[in-house]
């Protein structure tokens, strides 16, 4: 298994390298000069030139790239142009909000999606199961920002059950933090929950028709025991993969949901940085997202191997 992880990480190197070059060039192709933005509207050309020198924006592109890469390898992400603070500190400041949102949304998907998926698989002909299937299709078709607006309108503006926006850490004010998390997590989790239900249903109904389940029935085991002890263990595999990939997306910053709920996460940080041409933040964040994406896929494969002993990972 270790050799497998090693091989996968080795494969990730060209993708990471390529994406670092792509991001570096891409953000520099975007019209607009960070030095001009930094200097402000009343700056003289000399001041702009001076800023460009300070931030080494006057160097040739290959030199800039290699300097950045060299520092990156040593763990130095550079300094933000607009706030003049270290990029690492800015990211560290935004990560908790994103983690809150990602974990909360995962909980929604698991707690709502898991049991509903089981119901749909075990009792496909129930009216409830059919209703769930229709709701699923609607959830997959609903834009997150629209759902967010509707939920805000209903629960924050009309009913006033929860505050409309804001973020506090769960370690500081657990109750208030959860009240603030409910709507963004439901918004973000709706489509993910639908995906979990679909995978759960498909994977469980496949397993339920297999030979070892027929044997379990023949042994006279109760259905609840068969479902929980035999079917779920095998059927959970594809669902775990789906959840892992969803978690990766969630860490990638839910830009639109963050905009609707005024959530101070990494998505907003990146969006603002693109707007301000804050090159080093954009480069760091994009590379972070790509790395998370690769890591999540490797973890999903590992979960497969751990949950299903029949799968052996070739190195």
């Amino acid at each position: 298994m270790l050799s497998y992880v090693g091989a996968r990480l080795l494969q990730a190197v060209p993708v990471l390298f390529l994406s670092s070059v792509v991001v570096f060039l891409f953000i520099r192709l975007v019209p607009g000069d960070p030095a001009v933005t930094m200097a402000g509207p009343n700056a003289t050309p000399d001041q702009v030139a001076a800023l460009r020198r300070v931030y080494q924006l006057d160097r040739p592109l290959p030199v800039q790239y290699l300097t950045w890469l060299g520092r990156l390898v040593q763990g130095d992400l550079g300094v933000s142009y607009t706030t003049r603070r270290p990029v690492a500190a800015l990211v560290a400041q935004r990560l908790p909000a994103t983690l809150h949102l990602a974990v909360g949304t995962m909980l929604v998907m698991l707690v709502v999606g898991g049991p509903l998926g089981v119901v749909c698989a075990v009792r496909p002909r129930w009216a409830v199961s059919r209703a769930i299937a229709i709701l699923n299709a609607v959830a997959l078709a609903t834009p997150t920002f629209w759902l967010g607006i509707l939920l805000l309108l209903l629960f924050a503006v009309s009913l006033r059950w929860v505050p409309p926006s804001g973020f506090v850490s769960i370690t500081e004010q657990p109750l208030e933090s959860m009240r603030l998390l409910v709507l963004p997590c439901l918004t973000l989790g709706a489509s993910g929950t639908a995906i979990v239900i679909r995978f759960m249903r498909a994977s469980m109904s496949e397993v339920m028709h297999s030979d070892f389940i027929r044997t379990a029935h023949a042994k006279g085991l109760r259905e609840s025991a068969i479902v929980t002890r035999h079917v779920l263990r095998v059927a959970a595999l594809p669902v775990v993969t789906v959840l892992a990939v969803q978690f990766g997306y969630l860490l990638g910053g839910a830009v639109i949901t963050e905009a609707v709920f005024g959530w101070p996460g990494v998505g907003r940080l990146t969006l603002d940085a693109i707007g301000n041409r804050d090159y080093l933040i954009v480069q760091a964040m994009m590379l972070f997202f790509v790395a998370v994406f690769i890591a999540v896929n490797v973890i999903a494969d590992l979960c497969y191997a751990i949950l299903d002993p029949r799968i052996r990972l070739a190195g």
Partner: protein
């Protein structure tokens, strides 16, 4: 004695020998989800095409004396903050959403299919380079990638089309590559090669035809994504600009008046959702129709 009725046997024989396109259409129409999707999509296309004729008002006409009026007999969907008719704007919005969907799916296919064909048929280093390129694009978060492309090219509907197309290239390209790989060693390909057909001819005349069905399914889903992304980008102020009646723009500018005028948020959102619902249902029905597991 159980003897099959002659009509039944005949009917089955006809079903087997029908043209693939006719068989797929038949299967989609037999699936309730497929019927639903098809009706929804065809209706939307019809509404978009005839928007100028059926819209009760001009979508741009500002009427200062009736801003934010609730749905009534005159204004079935109400009016917005500038007194414009929401129904008319929603109808014209269908044009933008569907054009973006068709445009970006077309552009994505134009980029992805040649890449996938090359990677799948040639293999080796070409496959390696193309596959890593697609992996790299795929690894970026879709929305941020799109925002980057729009920042590079400038805001506007045309650039949203380009952004959505680039986002969709990896899925379509990988699908093409995998389909080609599965076809490459089939007997009909070997036969064509044995008859002296060139590589280009084998790929464009023989393999491509057998990849089309899979691409069709994915194209419907890409179009659904395109509608979603266009609305999202316009909502973030990156797509079409006011006063263009795009569903995303309508939701964005209506956002500040939602507590007094919820209809500003409800109708454009319903339009987006039903479009995506229709395209998804159609895509799923097509997939089911093409699935080899079907009896």
């Amino acid at each position: 004695m159980a003897r099959p009725e002659p009509e039944a046997v005949g009917a089955r024989r006809i079903a087997v020998f029908r043209h693939p396109a006719a068989r797929i259409t038949h299967a989609v129409l037999r699936d309730p989800g497929g019927r639903f999707g098809l009706v929804l999509v065809v209706t939307l296309i019809g509404l978009a095409l005839s928007a100028a004729r059926i819209a009760p008002f001009d979508p741009f006409t500002i009427s200062a004396d009736e801003p934010l009026s609730a749905p009534s007999r005159d204004h079935v969907f109400g009016t917005d903050e500038l007194g414009r008719d929401v129904l008319s704007r929603t109808l014209f919005g269908a044009r933008i959403s569907l054009s973006v969907a068709v445009g970006s799916a077309g552009a994505a296919l134009l980029m992805a299919v040649p890449l996938g064909l090359l990677a799948g048929y040639l293999g080796g280093p070409v496959d390696m380079v193309i596959s890593r390129l697609l992996d790299t694009i795929f690894a970026f978060p879709a929305v941020l990638l799109g925002i980057g492309v729009v920042a590079l090219l400038g805001t506007g509907v045309a650039n949203v089309v380009v952004a959505v197309a680039i986002i969709s290239v990896p899925t379509l390209g990988r699908l093409t590559r995998v389909s080609v790989l599965s076809q490459r060693n089939e007997e009909y390909v070997q036969a064509a090669r044995a008859l002296g057909a060139s590589g280009t001819r084998v790929v464009t005349r023989h393999i491509l035809q057998n990849v089309v069905p899979q691409l069709l399914v994915q194209t419907a889903l890409v179009m659904a994504d395109a509608v979603l992304l266009e609305a999202g980008f316009s909502f973030l102020g990156l797509g079409s600009r006011p006063p263009t009646p795009s569903w995303g723009t309508m939701l964005d500018s209506g956002r500040n008046f939602l507590s007094q005028a919820p209809w500003l948020g409800i109708f454009p959102g319903l339009a987006v959702t039903s479009t995506i619902l229709g395209l998804n249902a159609l895509g799923d029905a097509l997939r089911a129709a093409l699935s080899p597991r079907r009896e």
